[in-house]
């Protein structure tokens, strides 16, 4: 097992190098740079002054020089400094990661709580009104954009309930109640979207397993439905569900941009969004690498979970 993990981690190195090169190239292909973002609507500057500003920031150097410089610093664990506010990139990522991780964890937990029971009920009561209701719930979750749900939720609360959770973020250890108030609606929205796919996958997977011979055997032995479904069917149906969930976590982190913006949460999505607008190359590169690392680690964890769920699977 340890060998397997080490091998997978070593295999991640070239992936990360490739990611760094791609993102380093892509951000520089987009029109506009941080100097333009800083100037915004004010100031008259000559071409010489623009060139001097770029030289000061080092973004006028040849691409290869910039990349090698970046990689040398990265090898030392230095993600560089923001071109926009001169703050260390790593510190900014750590500060913003806290919000996004909490939101992601809450969303995933909510999604699991919603999706797995919903998928199971939908499967064991297939083609009944209960199933139709559950499928409609899941399809709506897939179809409705989260920004629309969020905007409608805020509008509804403001206009018809006369109450609105306070926008912003309060760390959980400072004010747990306000932290929950700030995060519960974003988590519900993200969790709902996340649960939709998971519920549909759980349904189809459980349905498929329920048709297996060993399930028929379990029924014929007179086992109760609960034992058949939970002990025999669900465990075997979970592998594709977990695979889907693992893959979705990457998209979930990327998709937090919109929700964090609407609910004014200072998370990774907001940091990335601002950095793109400001053409803050080091921050964009830093976040991308961290996101890619999380994606790789989550996939590794998913692979390792297979062995826990299904003892027949062994890594060596």
């Amino acid at each position: 097992m340890t060998q397997y993990i080490v091998r997978r981690l070593l295999m991640a190195v070239p992936s990360m190098l490739l990611v760094s090169l791609i993102i380093f190239s892509l951000v520089r292909l987009v029109d506009g740079d941080v100097v333009m973002a800083r100037l915004a609507e004010g100031g008259y500057v000559t071409d010489d002054q623009l060139a001097a500003m770029r030289a000061e920031l080092g973004i006028d150097r040849p691409f290869v020089t910039q990349y090698l410089d970046y990689m040398v610093h990265l090898m030392r664990g230095d993600f560089g400094k923001s071109l926009w506010d001169s703050q260390p990139v790593w510190n900014q990522i750590v500060d913003h990661m806290e919000v996004s991780l909490q939101l992601a964890v809450m969303s995933i937990l909510l999604a699991i709580v919603i999706a797995i029971p919903l998928g199971i009920i939908s499967a064991i009561r297939a083609n009944t009104p209960l199933d139709y209701g559950a499928r409609l719930f899941a399809i709506l979750g897939l179809s409705l954009p989260d920004f629309w749900i969020a905007t409608m939720l805020i509008l509804g609360l403001t206009l018809w309930v006369g109450w609105l959770p306070e926008f912003g973020y309060w760390p959980i250890w400072e004010d747990p109640a306000k932290n929950l108030e700030a995060l519960i609606f974003p988590a519900l929205i993200v969790g709902y979207r996340f649960s939709a796919t998971t519920a549909r996958m759980t349904r189809s997977s459980v349905l498929e397993v329920l048709r297996e011979d060993y399930i028929r055997t379990a029924w014929s032995k007179g086992m109760r439905e609960r034992a058949v479904v939970l002990n025999h069917a669900l465990r075997n149906a979970l592998i594709p569900v977990i695979t889907i969930m693992g893959g979705q976590i990457g998209f979930l982190l990327g998709g937090l941009v919109v929700i964090e913006t609407i609910f004014s949460l200072p998370g990774m999505g907001r940091l990335m969004f601002n950095a793109i607008n400001q053409r803050d190359y080091p921050v964009i590169q830093g976040i991308t690498l961290v996101m890619a690392s999380i994606f790789i680690l989550v996939n590794l964890l998913v692979d390792l979970t297979y062995a826990v769920i299904d003892p027949r699977i062994r890594y060596s």
């Binding site: 029109d31 100037l39 004010g42 900014q92």
Partner: protein, 591 residues
């Protein structure tokens, strides 16, 4: 009629979308306009050129009343007669984020606004509850009184007594001196990375005669020299922060509020400076809540979570919607007196070098109808150069020359004469004003189709747009903004001189160049004004800029927020930036 059908359809579709969203979106309107749009006042509309005596160098924005506006909203509501209350923290929902704090390196709002609260200026432009009533830009005392000017080249400032830097390390409350101003100005003028060097190009020397006297001598007379010193862009920062290398991340000034905390993407907090030389603020502090989403800011404002919000109202319909749920909210309007956005052509393109093509584009636009459709009548049709420099009150459209009217038949003739009957070009733009840019361009595109022009529009992200606009690299045409300045040189030199980086339209006209240079050093007000009129008329006659209509600005205030007011001539008191100058007067009347 095709036009009517299109617009009827347009109006209907637009209202449908609005019903669906029920006033949720739209909010970003006015962010840029708040920053860029100048404001005026109402009054007569004779449209006669002002006599020379009514416009002076220091009152160049000087406007008399703007065009008559539809009824229903006012330009400046009354302050309560009760005694101001002390205490409380003002909460402001804003769209900018934390950025570098070095005032020389950026002109972006997120930087400027914080610097303007923590730092002061040597002199200032009038702000606060009286500013929206101003008919012209007024210079007022700040760190110093207004200077003695024995001639057009020497300015002697006396620093006001009792000014101390905030009692925060490394300044620790030391006395403010004339030498501090000299240091800051010299750094603005010469430091690498400064984006404000052009303001100082005429300075020969800056001398701190003693601790309270500063003397500035110019190489050549410049009648506009003082105005930039009073603007938001030239705040006075301390040498200590530069020497310590913390000027980009720390701000310790002389202002009414002390910067306490900046949490990126979350909030910026400030606490009152008890030693402020104009008297300690009534507020205990200020909290800027960074909320980039316009609908969220509107919701927070509606729920009373914030006392003020950036970019809430894009037009009258937004204001009407807000008043439906929050009846006590105070709303001010700010009629523009310069067009902020215009169809900007690449004048290096041979097709657009033919003035008949440009004139056809002017004639093809139906500005009056656009004002009615897009702004419900709360807008106006005026050129990019503020009419206030030339006229005492807003001129009638016919006074803007023969190309200002809507005349499709004449436009077709001009295009035919120029051999451009099937003119086709692309416009890149950024949506600055909550669908305002898009609506204008969609209508223009349809209008131009009627005269045989195929105008394609392409929306691009903010930085991409600004990169092309600022560097003048847009290929064919763009919906470009004009950089508002507070001094006449901005309009009569920076925007039009062929060598100026502010001439983003790439106008190359030797006669305009000569006039631009001449007015720059003309100290005789009458003579200078005559030159301005020549420039004003020629720019319109040659149709160098295809001016579009402008909407009236709407600003909402919670009913309990007092002592604070935005609006005034030429965006000199903009809600985007001008917090610091009036923060010590603001107060809250909340339980």
């Amino acid at each position: 009629m095709t036009t009517e059908n299109y617009w009827t359809r347009f109006q209907r579709n637009r209202l449908s979308r609005r019903r669906i969203l029920s006033g949720a979106a739209w909010g970003t309107a006015g962010i840029a306009t708040a920053a860029l749009v100048g404001c005026g006042d109402d009054g007569d509309d004779s449209g006669e050129p002002t006599s020379a005596s009514t416009t002076s160098t220091s009152s160049s924005g000087g406007a008399s009343p703007t065009a008559e506006q539809p009824k229903g909203y006012q330009t400046n509501f009354a302050e309560p007669s009760t005694q101001p209350k002390a205490g409380g923290t003002m909460r402001i929902a804003n769209d900018w984020d934390v950025s570098i704090l070095d005032p020389i390196k950026t002109a972006a709002g997120g930087t400027i606004v914080k610097c303007n609260i923590v730092y002061n200026r040597l002199i200032s432009l009038n702000t606060g509850v009286t500013a929206p009533d101003d008919k012209e830009i007024k210079l007022v005392s700040d760190l110093s009184g207004l200077p003695e000017q024995p001639d057009g080249q020497t300015f002697t400032f006396k620093i006001n007594p009792g000014i101390k830097w905030q009692n925060v390390a490394p300044l620790n409350g030391r006395a403010f001196k004339a030498e501090d101003v000299k240091y800051a100005y010299e750094r603005y003028a010469t430091a690498q990375g400064s984006v404000h060097t052009t303001y100082f190009r005429d300075i020969d020397k800056i001398e701190a005669i003693d601790d309270t006297t500063l003397k500035i001598t110019l190489k050549t007379p410049n009648p506009d020299f003082l105005i930039p010193l009073g603007t938001r862009y030239l705040t006075i920062f301390p040498r200590e922060l530069v020497d310590a290398g913390t000027i980009e991340t720390q701000a310790v000034g002389t202002g009414s509020m002390i910067l306490k905390e900046m949490a990126k993407s979350d909030h910026v907090t400030l606490a009152k400076n008890p030693d402020y030389f104009k008297g300690a603020a009534k507020l205990d502090g200020v909290e800027f809540r960074i909320q980039p989403d316009a609908a969220s800011r509107l919701a927070a404002f509606r729920a009373g979570q914030v006392d003020f919000s950036y970019g809430l109202l894009g037009n009258k319909r937004d204001a009407d919607n807000l008043l439906q749920t929050n009846k006590d909210v105070n709303i001010n309007i700010s009629p523009p007196f310069a067009a902020i956005f215009g169809l900007s052509l690449n004048l290096d393109d041979p097709r657009f070098q033919d003035e008949r093509v440009r004139q056809a584009l002017m004639l093809g636009m139906d500005r009056e109808t656009m004002v009615q459709i897009i702004y419900d009548g709360f807008g106006t049709t005026i050129p990019t150069i503020p009419w206030t420099y030339i006229y005492a009150s807003q001129p009638k459209p016919e006074q803007f020359g023969k190309w200002w009217k809507h005349d499709p038949a004449e436009a077709k003739k001009l295009l035919a004469a120029a051999g451009q009957e099937n003119l086709s070009f692309q416009v890149i733009y950024h949506e600055y004003t909550a669908s305002g840019n898009t609506q204008q361009l969609e209508i223009m595109s349809d209008l131009y189709k009627q005269i045989g022009i195929d105008m394609k529009v392409q929306r691009v992200p903010y930085t991409e747009f600004n990169s092309q606009w600022i560097q003048r690299t847009f290929p064919e045409a763009t919906d470009g903004w004009q950089a508002l300045g507070f001094e006449p040189n901005n309009y009569f030199y920076n925007h039009i001189h062929s060598t100026s980086p502010g001439n983003r339209w790439r106008i190359k006209d030797s006669e305009l160049d000569a006039w631009a240079e001449k007015q720059r050093s003309e100290l005789d007000k009458n003579a200078r004004k005559e030159i301005w009129k020549q420039i004003f008329d020629k720019v319109l006659d040659k149709a160098y800029r295809i001016d579009k209509p402008s909407g009236t600005g709407f600003t909402a205030y919670q009913p309990w927020l007092h002592g604070l007011r935005f609006g005034g001539p030429l965006g000199s008191n903009s809600s985007y930036y001008e917090w610091g100058q009036q923060m010590h007067q603001a107060w809250l009347d909340k339980a």
